[in-house]
Symmetry: C2
Subunit: 234 residues, 2 copies
Protein backbone atom coordinates (compact mmCIF):
# COMPACT_ATOMS: atom_id res chain seq x y z
CA UNK A 1 0.00 0.00 0.00
CA UNK A 2 1.49 3.35 -1.00
CA UNK A 3 1.67 5.91 1.77
CA UNK A 4 -1.09 8.52 1.97
CA UNK A 5 0.03 11.85 0.49
CA UNK A 6 -1.09 14.88 2.48
CA UNK A 7 -1.04 18.33 0.84
CA UNK A 8 -1.49 21.06 3.41
CA UNK A 9 -0.29 24.37 4.80
CA UNK A 10 -0.56 25.04 8.53
CA UNK A 11 -1.60 28.60 7.64
CA UNK A 12 -5.04 27.16 6.78
CA UNK A 13 -7.51 26.19 9.51
CA UNK A 14 -8.81 22.98 7.85
CA UNK A 15 -5.21 21.99 7.09
CA UNK A 16 -4.37 22.30 10.77
CA UNK A 17 -7.40 20.17 11.68
CA UNK A 18 -6.47 17.47 9.19
CA UNK A 19 -2.76 17.51 10.06
CA UNK A 20 -3.61 17.06 13.72
CA UNK A 21 -6.13 14.37 12.91
CA UNK A 22 -3.70 12.15 10.99
CA UNK A 23 -1.07 12.61 13.70
CA UNK A 24 -3.53 11.89 16.54
CA UNK A 25 -4.57 8.70 14.75
CA UNK A 26 -1.01 7.66 13.85
CA UNK A 27 -1.82 7.44 10.14
CA UNK A 28 1.47 7.29 8.24
CA UNK A 29 1.64 10.01 5.57
CA UNK A 30 3.96 11.50 3.02
CA UNK A 31 4.41 15.17 3.89
CA UNK A 32 3.48 17.39 0.93
CA UNK A 33 3.55 20.87 2.43
CA UNK A 34 2.24 23.50 0.00
CA UNK A 35 3.48 27.03 0.67
CA UNK A 36 0.43 29.29 0.27
CA UNK A 37 2.50 32.41 1.02
CA UNK A 38 4.67 31.83 -2.04
CA UNK A 39 1.65 30.93 -4.19
CA UNK A 40 2.53 27.25 -4.64
CA UNK A 41 -1.19 26.40 -4.64
CA UNK A 42 -1.65 28.48 -7.80
CA UNK A 43 1.18 26.86 -9.70
CA UNK A 44 0.52 24.32 -12.43
CA UNK A 45 1.82 21.32 -10.48
CA UNK A 46 -0.66 21.80 -7.62
CA UNK A 47 -3.52 22.97 -9.86
CA UNK A 48 -3.33 19.60 -11.60
CA UNK A 49 -3.97 17.96 -8.22
CA UNK A 50 -6.69 20.38 -7.12
CA UNK A 51 -8.13 22.68 -9.82
CA UNK A 52 -9.86 24.69 -7.07
CA UNK A 53 -6.32 25.55 -5.81
CA UNK A 54 -7.09 24.96 -2.15
CA UNK A 55 -5.52 22.89 0.62
CA UNK A 56 -5.87 20.39 2.19
CA UNK A 57 -5.91 17.56 -0.36
CA UNK A 58 -5.08 13.88 -0.02
CA UNK A 59 -3.87 11.40 -2.60
CA UNK A 60 -4.48 7.84 -1.45
CA UNK A 61 -2.79 5.63 -4.05
CA UNK A 62 -4.14 7.77 -6.90
CA UNK A 63 -7.50 8.58 -5.27
CA UNK A 64 -7.41 12.36 -4.95
CA UNK A 65 -9.82 14.01 -2.53
CA UNK A 66 -10.39 17.65 -1.56
CA UNK A 67 -12.52 19.30 1.14
CA UNK A 68 -11.33 18.76 4.71
CA UNK A 69 -14.64 17.36 6.01
CA UNK A 70 -14.89 14.82 3.18
CA UNK A 71 -11.24 13.86 3.73
CA UNK A 72 -11.68 13.32 7.47
CA UNK A 73 -14.85 11.26 6.96
CA UNK A 74 -13.05 9.18 4.32
CA UNK A 75 -10.07 8.55 6.63
CA UNK A 76 -12.45 7.41 9.40
CA UNK A 77 -13.89 4.80 7.02
CA UNK A 78 -10.56 3.93 5.40
CA UNK A 79 -8.69 3.24 8.64
CA UNK A 80 -11.74 2.20 10.68
CA UNK A 81 -10.91 4.88 13.24
CA UNK A 82 -12.60 5.02 16.66
CA UNK A 83 -16.33 5.70 16.43
CA UNK A 84 -16.14 8.76 18.69
CA UNK A 85 -14.36 10.76 15.98
CA UNK A 86 -17.08 10.12 13.41
CA UNK A 87 -19.78 7.53 14.21
CA UNK A 88 -20.60 4.97 11.52
CA UNK A 89 -22.59 2.36 13.46
CA UNK A 90 -24.98 4.70 15.30
CA UNK A 91 -26.78 6.59 12.53
CA UNK A 92 -28.35 9.13 14.90
CA UNK A 93 -24.97 9.92 16.48
CA UNK A 94 -23.54 10.30 12.95
CA UNK A 95 -26.43 12.59 11.97
CA UNK A 96 -25.71 14.92 14.89
CA UNK A 97 -22.05 15.21 13.86
CA UNK A 98 -23.14 15.81 10.24
CA UNK A 99 -25.54 18.49 11.46
CA UNK A 100 -22.66 20.48 12.96
CA UNK A 101 -20.31 19.81 10.03
CA UNK A 102 -22.83 21.28 7.61
CA UNK A 103 -23.83 24.18 9.84
CA UNK A 104 -20.25 25.30 10.42
CA UNK A 105 -19.43 26.25 6.82
CA UNK A 106 -21.54 29.41 6.75
CA UNK A 107 -21.25 30.03 10.50
CA UNK A 108 -18.18 29.15 12.62
CA UNK A 109 -15.91 28.86 9.60
CA UNK A 110 -17.05 31.82 7.54
CA UNK A 111 -17.45 34.36 10.32
CA UNK A 112 -14.24 33.65 12.26
CA UNK A 113 -12.36 33.65 8.95
CA UNK A 114 -13.92 36.99 7.99
CA UNK A 115 -12.86 38.67 11.25
CA UNK A 116 -9.28 37.54 10.52
CA UNK A 117 -9.58 38.47 6.84
CA UNK A 118 -10.82 42.00 7.52
CA UNK A 119 -8.17 42.61 10.19
CA UNK A 120 -5.18 41.10 8.42
CA UNK A 121 -5.57 39.92 4.83
CA UNK A 122 -7.69 42.63 3.19
CA UNK A 123 -5.68 45.61 4.56
CA UNK A 124 -2.50 43.85 3.44
CA UNK A 125 -3.85 43.16 -0.06
CA UNK A 126 -5.50 46.53 -0.63
CA UNK A 127 -3.03 48.69 1.36
CA UNK A 128 -6.09 50.35 2.85
CA UNK A 129 -6.86 50.78 6.57
CA UNK A 130 -8.99 48.25 8.41
CA UNK A 131 -12.72 48.62 7.66
CA UNK A 132 -14.01 48.61 11.25
CA UNK A 133 -17.64 48.62 10.16
CA UNK A 134 -17.08 45.27 8.45
CA UNK A 135 -15.03 43.94 11.39
CA UNK A 136 -17.77 44.88 13.83
CA UNK A 137 -20.45 43.27 11.67
CA UNK A 138 -18.42 40.05 11.56
CA UNK A 139 -17.87 40.21 15.33
CA UNK A 140 -21.64 40.37 15.80
CA UNK A 141 -21.97 37.27 13.65
CA UNK A 142 -19.35 35.49 15.75
CA UNK A 143 -21.42 36.35 18.83
CA UNK A 144 -24.40 34.67 17.12
CA UNK A 145 -22.23 31.62 16.35
CA UNK A 146 -20.91 31.35 19.93
CA UNK A 147 -24.44 31.57 21.32
CA UNK A 148 -25.54 28.68 19.08
CA UNK A 149 -22.42 26.67 19.86
CA UNK A 150 -23.43 26.92 23.50
CA UNK A 151 -27.23 26.68 23.39
CA UNK A 152 -27.87 24.55 20.29
CA UNK A 153 -24.86 22.26 20.01
CA UNK A 154 -22.92 21.93 23.27
CA UNK A 155 -25.83 22.23 25.71
CA UNK A 156 -24.81 20.26 28.80
CA UNK A 157 -22.45 17.81 27.07
CA UNK A 158 -18.65 17.89 27.45
CA UNK A 159 -18.16 17.94 23.65
CA UNK A 160 -20.26 19.37 20.81
CA UNK A 161 -21.79 16.04 19.79
CA UNK A 162 -21.50 13.84 22.86
CA UNK A 163 -19.41 12.63 25.77
CA UNK A 164 -16.24 12.18 23.70
CA UNK A 165 -14.37 14.41 21.26
CA UNK A 166 -15.50 14.23 17.62
CA UNK A 167 -14.39 15.77 14.35
CA UNK A 168 -16.97 18.53 15.02
CA UNK A 169 -14.91 19.73 18.01
CA UNK A 170 -11.69 19.41 16.03
CA UNK A 171 -12.93 21.53 13.10
CA UNK A 172 -14.68 24.01 15.36
CA UNK A 173 -11.69 24.80 17.58
CA UNK A 174 -9.46 25.32 14.52
CA UNK A 175 -11.83 27.98 13.17
CA UNK A 176 -12.18 29.72 16.55
CA UNK A 177 -8.37 29.83 16.85
CA UNK A 178 -8.35 32.31 13.95
CA UNK A 179 -9.62 34.78 16.55
CA UNK A 180 -6.66 34.08 18.84
CA UNK A 181 -4.32 35.09 16.02
CA UNK A 182 -5.78 38.62 16.12
CA UNK A 183 -6.27 38.84 19.92
CA UNK A 184 -10.04 38.47 19.59
CA UNK A 185 -10.39 35.19 21.54
CA UNK A 186 -12.56 37.06 24.01
CA UNK A 187 -15.32 36.73 21.41
CA UNK A 188 -15.70 33.09 22.40
CA UNK A 189 -13.91 32.95 25.77
CA UNK A 190 -16.42 35.46 27.17
CA UNK A 191 -18.86 32.54 27.20
CA UNK A 192 -17.75 30.47 30.23
CA UNK A 193 -19.16 27.20 28.85
CA UNK A 194 -17.47 27.66 25.48
CA UNK A 195 -14.24 28.71 27.20
CA UNK A 196 -14.30 25.55 29.33
CA UNK A 197 -15.13 23.45 26.24
CA UNK A 198 -12.22 25.04 24.30
CA UNK A 199 -9.79 24.24 27.12
CA UNK A 200 -11.12 20.67 27.29
CA UNK A 201 -10.71 20.21 23.53
CA UNK A 202 -7.19 21.67 23.44
CA UNK A 203 -6.13 19.43 26.33
CA UNK A 204 -7.66 16.39 24.60
CA UNK A 205 -5.88 17.18 21.32
CA UNK A 206 -2.47 18.00 22.78
CA UNK A 207 0.46 17.85 22.12
CA UNK A 208 -0.66 17.71 18.45
CA UNK A 209 -2.81 20.81 18.95
CA UNK A 210 0.07 23.05 20.02
CA UNK A 211 2.32 21.65 17.31
CA UNK A 212 -0.22 22.44 14.56
CA UNK A 213 -0.91 25.90 16.05
CA UNK A 214 2.68 27.12 16.36
CA UNK A 215 2.02 29.31 13.35
CA UNK A 216 -1.06 30.83 15.01
CA UNK A 217 0.95 31.65 18.14
CA UNK A 218 3.63 33.31 15.97
CA UNK A 219 0.99 35.28 14.03
CA UNK A 220 -0.49 36.40 17.33
CA UNK A 221 2.86 37.80 18.51
CA UNK A 222 3.48 39.43 15.15
CA UNK A 223 0.00 40.96 15.04
CA UNK A 224 0.51 42.54 18.45
CA UNK A 225 3.86 44.07 17.58
CA UNK A 226 2.98 45.35 14.10
CA UNK A 227 -0.68 46.29 14.35
CA UNK A 228 -0.60 47.67 17.88
CA UNK A 229 -0.87 51.33 16.80
CA UNK A 230 -4.21 50.54 15.10
CA UNK A 231 -5.68 49.48 18.42
CA UNK A 232 -6.04 53.16 19.26
CA UNK A 233 -8.94 53.16 16.82
CA UNK A 234 -10.87 50.55 18.74
Amino acid sequence: MSKLKLYYDLMSQPSRALYMFVKLNRIPFEDKAVALRSGEHKQEAFTKINPVQLVPVIDDGGFVLTESVAIIQYLCNRYDLPEHWYPRKDIKAQAKVNEYLNWQHANTRMNCAMVFRHLVIIPRETKKPVDWEQVNMMKKRVAFVVNHLDKTFLKEKPYLCGSEVSVADLLCICELMQLNAVHEEQLYESNPKIKAWAERVKKRLNPEFDEAHQIVYRLRDLYKSTIAPSFAKL
Copy 2:
Protein backbone atom coordinates in the same frame (compact mmCIF):
# COMPACT_ATOMS: atom_id res chain seq x y z
CA MET B 1 -43.36 3.67 14.22
CA SER B 2 -44.58 7.29 14.27
CA LYS B 3 -44.58 9.03 10.92
CA LEU B 4 -41.61 11.28 10.07
CA LYS B 5 -42.46 14.95 10.58
CA LEU B 6 -41.11 17.24 7.88
CA TYR B 7 -40.88 20.98 8.55
CA TYR B 8 -40.24 22.91 5.34
CA ASP B 9 -41.20 25.80 3.11
CA LEU B 10 -40.91 25.43 -0.67
CA MET B 11 -39.57 29.02 -0.74
CA SER B 12 -36.24 27.59 0.52
CA GLN B 13 -33.90 25.71 -1.83
CA PRO B 14 -32.83 22.98 0.64
CA SER B 15 -36.49 22.52 1.60
CA ARG B 16 -37.34 21.90 -2.05
CA ALA B 17 -34.51 19.38 -2.31
CA LEU B 18 -35.62 17.51 0.79
CA TYR B 19 -39.33 17.62 -0.10
CA MET B 20 -38.54 16.15 -3.51
CA PHE B 21 -36.23 13.58 -1.97
CA VAL B 22 -38.81 12.15 0.45
CA LYS B 23 -41.44 12.08 -2.33
CA LEU B 24 -39.07 10.43 -4.83
CA ASN B 25 -38.27 7.77 -2.25
CA ARG B 26 -41.89 7.30 -1.16
CA ILE B 27 -41.04 8.01 2.49
CA PRO B 28 -44.33 8.62 4.32
CA PHE B 29 -44.26 11.94 6.16
CA GLU B 30 -46.43 14.25 8.20
CA ASP B 31 -46.60 17.58 6.39
CA LYS B 32 -45.45 20.42 8.65
CA ALA B 33 -45.26 23.37 6.27
CA VAL B 34 -43.71 26.44 7.94
CA ALA B 35 -44.69 29.76 6.33
CA LEU B 36 -41.47 31.79 6.14
CA ARG B 37 -43.31 34.75 4.57
CA SER B 38 -45.46 35.17 7.65
CA GLY B 39 -42.52 34.64 10.00
CA GLU B 40 -43.67 31.30 11.39
CA HIS B 41 -40.02 30.19 11.66
CA LYS B 42 -39.37 33.00 14.17
CA GLN B 43 -42.30 32.17 16.41
CA GLU B 44 -41.81 30.38 19.71
CA ALA B 45 -43.38 27.08 18.62
CA PHE B 46 -40.90 26.60 15.77
CA THR B 47 -37.92 28.10 17.65
CA LYS B 48 -38.36 25.34 20.22
CA ILE B 49 -37.90 22.80 17.42
CA ASN B 50 -35.00 24.62 15.73
CA PRO B 51 -33.35 27.43 17.74
CA VAL B 52 -31.49 28.48 14.56
CA GLN B 53 -34.98 29.27 13.08
CA LEU B 54 -34.28 27.68 9.72
CA VAL B 55 -36.03 25.06 7.60
CA PRO B 56 -35.90 22.22 6.74
CA VAL B 57 -36.06 20.18 9.96
CA ILE B 58 -37.20 16.63 10.60
CA ASP B 59 -38.57 15.02 13.73
CA ASP B 60 -38.26 11.24 13.59
CA GLY B 61 -40.08 9.95 16.65
CA GLY B 62 -38.54 12.65 18.84
CA PHE B 63 -35.14 12.72 17.11
CA VAL B 64 -34.93 16.29 15.78
CA LEU B 65 -32.42 17.04 13.04
CA THR B 66 -31.59 20.23 11.15
CA GLU B 67 -29.34 20.92 8.12
CA SER B 68 -30.62 19.55 4.81
CA VAL B 69 -27.45 17.61 3.97
CA ALA B 70 -27.37 15.90 7.38
CA ILE B 71 -31.10 15.11 7.07
CA ILE B 72 -30.74 13.57 3.61
CA GLN B 73 -27.73 11.48 4.69
CA TYR B 74 -29.67 10.32 7.77
CA LEU B 75 -32.70 9.34 5.68
CA CYS B 76 -30.45 7.31 3.33
CA ASN B 77 -29.20 5.33 6.34
CA ARG B 78 -32.57 5.19 8.10
CA TYR B 79 -34.53 3.81 5.14
CA ASP B 80 -31.61 2.03 3.48
CA LEU B 81 -32.23 4.00 0.28
CA PRO B 82 -30.58 3.07 -3.03
CA GLU B 83 -26.79 3.50 -2.95
CA HIS B 84 -26.76 5.86 -5.93
CA TRP B 85 -28.36 8.64 -3.87
CA TYR B 86 -25.66 8.49 -1.21
CA PRO B 87 -23.19 5.58 -1.25
CA ARG B 88 -22.55 3.77 2.02
CA LYS B 89 -20.79 0.59 0.87
CA ASP B 90 -18.25 2.16 -1.50
CA ILE B 91 -16.26 4.56 0.69
CA LYS B 92 -14.53 6.25 -2.26
CA ALA B 93 -17.85 6.87 -4.02
CA GLN B 94 -19.20 8.27 -0.74
CA ALA B 95 -16.13 10.50 -0.36
CA LYS B 96 -16.69 12.03 -3.83
CA VAL B 97 -20.32 12.87 -2.94
CA ASN B 98 -19.15 14.31 0.40
CA GLU B 99 -16.54 16.37 -1.48
CA TYR B 100 -19.28 18.11 -3.48
CA LEU B 101 -21.64 18.44 -0.49
CA ASN B 102 -18.98 20.28 1.48
CA TRP B 103 -17.79 22.41 -1.44
CA GLN B 104 -21.29 23.61 -2.33
CA HIS B 105 -21.99 25.55 0.88
CA ALA B 106 -19.64 28.44 0.11
CA ASN B 107 -19.90 28.06 -3.67
CA THR B 108 -23.06 26.90 -5.49
CA ARG B 109 -25.31 27.61 -2.55
CA MET B 110 -23.93 30.90 -1.33
CA ASN B 111 -23.36 32.58 -4.68
CA CYS B 112 -26.63 31.63 -6.39
CA ALA B 113 -28.47 32.66 -3.24
CA MET B 114 -26.65 36.00 -3.18
CA VAL B 115 -27.60 36.83 -6.79
CA PHE B 116 -31.23 36.22 -5.82
CA ARG B 117 -30.82 38.07 -2.54
CA HIS B 118 -29.33 41.19 -4.11
CA LEU B 119 -31.94 41.27 -6.89
CA VAL B 120 -35.04 40.53 -4.81
CA ILE B 121 -34.70 40.31 -1.03
CA ILE B 122 -32.35 43.19 -0.14
CA PRO B 123 -34.13 45.85 -2.30
CA ARG B 124 -37.44 44.71 -0.78
CA GLU B 125 -36.11 44.86 2.80
CA THR B 126 -34.20 48.14 2.46
CA LYS B 127 -36.52 49.87 -0.07
CA LYS B 128 -33.34 50.83 -1.90
CA PRO B 129 -32.56 50.18 -5.59
CA VAL B 130 -30.65 47.08 -6.66
CA ASP B 131 -26.91 47.35 -5.99
CA TRP B 132 -25.67 46.29 -9.44
CA GLU B 133 -22.04 46.29 -8.35
CA GLN B 134 -22.85 43.57 -5.81
CA VAL B 135 -25.02 41.69 -8.31
CA ASN B 136 -22.25 41.72 -10.89
CA MET B 137 -19.68 40.53 -8.35
CA MET B 138 -21.96 37.64 -7.40
CA LYS B 139 -22.54 36.82 -11.07
CA LYS B 140 -18.77 36.54 -11.54
CA ARG B 141 -18.65 34.13 -8.63
CA VAL B 142 -21.44 32.06 -10.21
CA ALA B 143 -19.32 31.91 -13.39
CA PHE B 144 -16.47 30.50 -11.26
CA VAL B 145 -18.86 27.95 -9.71
CA VAL B 146 -20.24 26.85 -13.10
CA ASN B 147 -16.73 26.41 -14.46
CA HIS B 148 -15.83 24.14 -11.52
CA LEU B 149 -19.11 22.25 -11.76
CA ASP B 150 -18.12 21.45 -15.33
CA LYS B 151 -14.35 20.93 -15.13
CA THR B 152 -13.84 19.67 -11.56
CA PHE B 153 -17.02 17.78 -10.70
CA LEU B 154 -19.01 16.75 -13.78
CA LYS B 155 -16.11 16.16 -16.19
CA GLU B 156 -17.34 13.54 -18.67
CA LYS B 157 -19.85 11.84 -16.37
CA PRO B 158 -23.64 12.10 -16.79
CA TYR B 159 -24.08 13.19 -13.15
CA LEU B 160 -21.84 15.16 -10.77
CA CYS B 161 -20.57 12.12 -8.87
CA GLY B 162 -21.07 9.19 -11.25
CA SER B 163 -23.27 7.44 -13.77
CA GLU B 164 -26.44 7.80 -11.69
CA VAL B 165 -28.10 10.73 -9.95
CA SER B 166 -26.96 11.44 -6.37
CA VAL B 167 -27.91 13.89 -3.63
CA ALA B 168 -25.14 16.14 -4.99
CA ASP B 169 -27.13 16.67 -8.22
CA LEU B 170 -30.33 17.15 -6.26
CA LEU B 171 -28.90 19.86 -3.99
CA CYS B 172 -26.98 21.50 -6.82
CA ILE B 173 -29.92 21.91 -9.19
CA CYS B 174 -32.07 23.40 -6.41
CA GLU B 175 -29.49 26.12 -5.79
CA LEU B 176 -29.04 26.87 -9.51
CA MET B 177 -32.82 27.20 -9.87
CA GLN B 178 -32.62 30.36 -7.74
CA LEU B 179 -31.18 31.94 -10.89
CA ASN B 180 -34.23 30.89 -12.94
CA ALA B 181 -36.44 32.80 -10.52
CA VAL B 182 -34.69 36.05 -11.53
CA HIS B 183 -34.23 35.21 -15.25
CA GLU B 184 -30.50 34.63 -14.80
CA GLU B 185 -30.44 30.94 -15.79
CA GLN B 186 -28.17 31.90 -18.66
CA LEU B 187 -25.40 32.06 -16.04
CA TYR B 188 -25.32 28.27 -16.02
CA GLU B 189 -27.15 27.37 -19.23
CA SER B 190 -24.47 29.22 -21.22
CA ASN B 191 -22.26 26.22 -20.45
CA PRO B 192 -23.57 23.51 -22.82
CA LYS B 193 -22.40 20.63 -20.60
CA ILE B 194 -24.02 22.10 -17.51
CA LYS B 195 -27.17 22.92 -19.48
CA ALA B 196 -27.40 19.30 -20.69
CA TRP B 197 -26.70 18.04 -17.15
CA ALA B 198 -29.44 20.31 -15.72
CA GLU B 199 -31.96 18.99 -18.25
CA ARG B 200 -30.92 15.41 -17.46
CA VAL B 201 -31.33 15.98 -13.71
CA LYS B 202 -34.71 17.70 -14.06
CA LYS B 203 -35.98 14.86 -16.26
CA ARG B 204 -34.68 12.29 -13.77
CA LEU B 205 -36.35 14.05 -10.83
CA ASN B 206 -39.69 14.74 -12.49
CA PRO B 207 -42.63 14.99 -11.84
CA GLU B 208 -41.49 15.74 -8.25
CA PHE B 209 -39.09 18.42 -9.54
CA ASP B 210 -41.81 20.51 -11.21
CA GLU B 211 -44.13 20.07 -8.25
CA ALA B 212 -41.50 21.37 -5.79
CA HIS B 213 -40.57 24.22 -8.14
CA GLN B 214 -44.06 25.61 -8.82
CA ILE B 215 -43.19 28.44 -6.48
CA VAL B 216 -40.01 29.22 -8.45
CA TYR B 217 -41.98 29.34 -11.71
CA ARG B 218 -44.49 31.71 -10.10
CA LEU B 219 -41.70 33.91 -8.71
CA ARG B 220 -40.16 34.00 -12.18
CA ASP B 221 -43.40 35.30 -13.73
CA LEU B 222 -43.85 37.80 -10.93
CA TYR B 223 -40.26 39.03 -11.20
CA LYS B 224 -40.67 39.69 -14.92
CA SER B 225 -43.90 41.62 -14.53
CA THR B 226 -42.89 43.73 -11.51
CA ILE B 227 -39.17 44.31 -11.97
CA ALA B 228 -39.17 44.64 -15.76
CA PRO B 229 -38.56 48.43 -15.72
CA SER B 230 -35.30 47.86 -13.82
CA PHE B 231 -33.95 45.85 -16.73
CA ALA B 232 -33.25 49.14 -18.50
CA LYS B 233 -30.35 49.53 -16.09
CA LEU B 234 -28.68 46.33 -17.22
